[in-house]
Amino acid sequence: MSEPQRELTIAVLIKQVPDINAVVVDPTSRQANIGGGRVMNTYDAYAVGEALAIKDRFGAQVTAIAAGPPAARDVLLRALATGVDEAILINLPNHNDIDSLTTARILAAEIVKHNFDLVLAGQSTDDCETGQVGPQIAETLKWPHVSLATHVELSDRELRVSRDAEASKETIEVPLPAVLMVLSGREESQRYPTLKGMMAAKKKTIPVVEVVEPTAARRLEWSVPVAIEREAEGIVVQGVPTDEAARQLVAWLKEQKLI
């Protein structure tokens, strides 16, 4: 390489999502009551861990980016407290009202400004589960992407990515810049905020980027999500003593010739 190597720059994308374990279905309206809890999306926490693992091994400047309401600052603070260098909040209060492609284009525009080498995102989100934003950022930027990434090696601006496909483990080589969607939280890349990290994070400035609210006509309309009415096909045992419930199941398994 004739030109001096500049330090690798990584953007890690984070979404603040409702805690889906706290979702309660209202028995009358059948609508989901999301509750107050907002957390860092599960797979995005793995992406943060992978970004910091790459930083440790190869050296990198890591910036966390979230698009959402002002409260999404909380997940950026958490990322900073675990060791991310910088954080940016894209002010998008109605982020759940726009489709994944519009979100991807807003994030891509921010990524271009900073000339990042590598973008890491979680494989999917806990709430909407589209898994589309990562590949759509890659497409918008005309970069390649690798999904289901479990491990990353880097040499000469070429990534060697391990991924878990459907029935196989694969190794993909891809040049930078690229987008990776992170699947798993390996033990060694799990990061947790430290008290010291928390203190340092609170001293950092998180710039807020204002974007023009998307004016394009909405391509999709969503109905209010409701719980599905259960079909009365299967047998459901409820409110009976444990031994009796187990006995009924064993009897049924025999009847169906499953044991």
């Binding site: 409702p18 889906i20 374990n21 979702v23 279905v25 059948r30 609508q31 989901a32 599960t42 489709d99 994944s100 492609l101 999917s124 589960e129 898994g131 990562g134 590949p135 759509q136 890659a138 497409e139 918008t140 390649p144 992407h145 690798v146 999904s147 479990t150 060697r160 496909a165 459907e166 029935a167 196989s168 483990k169 694969e170 190794t171 993909i172 080589e173 891809v174 033990e187 909405r218 391509r219 999709l220 309309e221 969503w222 109905s223 999500p225 409701v226 719980a227 259960r230 047998i235 459901v236 045992v237 409820q238 444990t242 031994d243 419930a245 187990a246 199941l249 049924w252 499953l258 044991i259």
Partner: protein
Amino acid sequence: MSSPIVLVIGEHRNDRIRPASLELVTAARELANLVDGEFVVAVAGSDIGHIASEFANVEGVDRVVVIEHPSLAPFLPGPWTGAVSSIILQIEPFAVLIPSSITGRDYAARVAARLDLALVPDALTLSIDEGQVVAHRAVLGGRVQTAVRFVASSPAMVTVAPGAYSRSVTCEHAAPIESLRIAVNDRDTRATLVDKTEHTAGAKGLTGANRIVSGGRGLGKAENFALVEELAAVLDAAVGASGATVGAGWRAHSDQVGSTGHTVSPKLYLAVGISGAPQHLVGMSGSDHIVAINRDPDAPIFKIASFGIVGDLFEIVPALIGQLKSTVD
């Protein structure tokens, strides 16, 4: 005006049509009938003439188009994005249905971005309302469903969840087959597959197993998987895991059942502490008999369970193990 076309991107693996694609045939035929339209299957890959012939024999298929290019095998999202975009531009369909598999989702999102289209993933049902496509899908961990309507995006583009429709069958008819040409852009070929290892014997045991006992987040922590393993041992069953437990690092990814793991269809699938996120359901809903043990009566797993017990798994599973042991003895 010619009749509207419903286009399915047919999937194949190891030289066979993937069963999920036969479900898409059913979904697409129903949708095409609703708009009095034509239903076309596109098959892409390298050396796939026989796959095209197989699709031509499937009931409900009006026409098959074949796209052959060396860059389309082995699968990488770049060349497939180029190919599928090109197919859509040439066929000009009213709706595009793509299997919600790992590969399908990997290129569908990029194709939508390239063609400036909205994409709804994991559709469970498709219908037409006032001329517009409406797709139902589950959100918030599968607890609730939303109806998504395409209002200003054409063609309507969806990935269809496996198990959502029944499989179409082969019949006497043979739909016409024609070839389409595509060009592959350099920018779509920057990633290279350098190594591929099929999953280990243990994981294969999962896909071929007659009985599977799977554990979910309801187990609380990794150590509690011992209960699932003990129950599996008594039933001579393989052990599976939900995506949530794999994500949390409790189990290896090779144990995972669901959209980012294995698709299984055993005679007996016993789900312990699994709420039934759609990503899990798509991997096991084809099982003959589904048993669910869960604390939450509203958990989606009960919707598809043939036998469900609402209660505390830490009480029920040990009782079940005890009774099964005495039955076997």
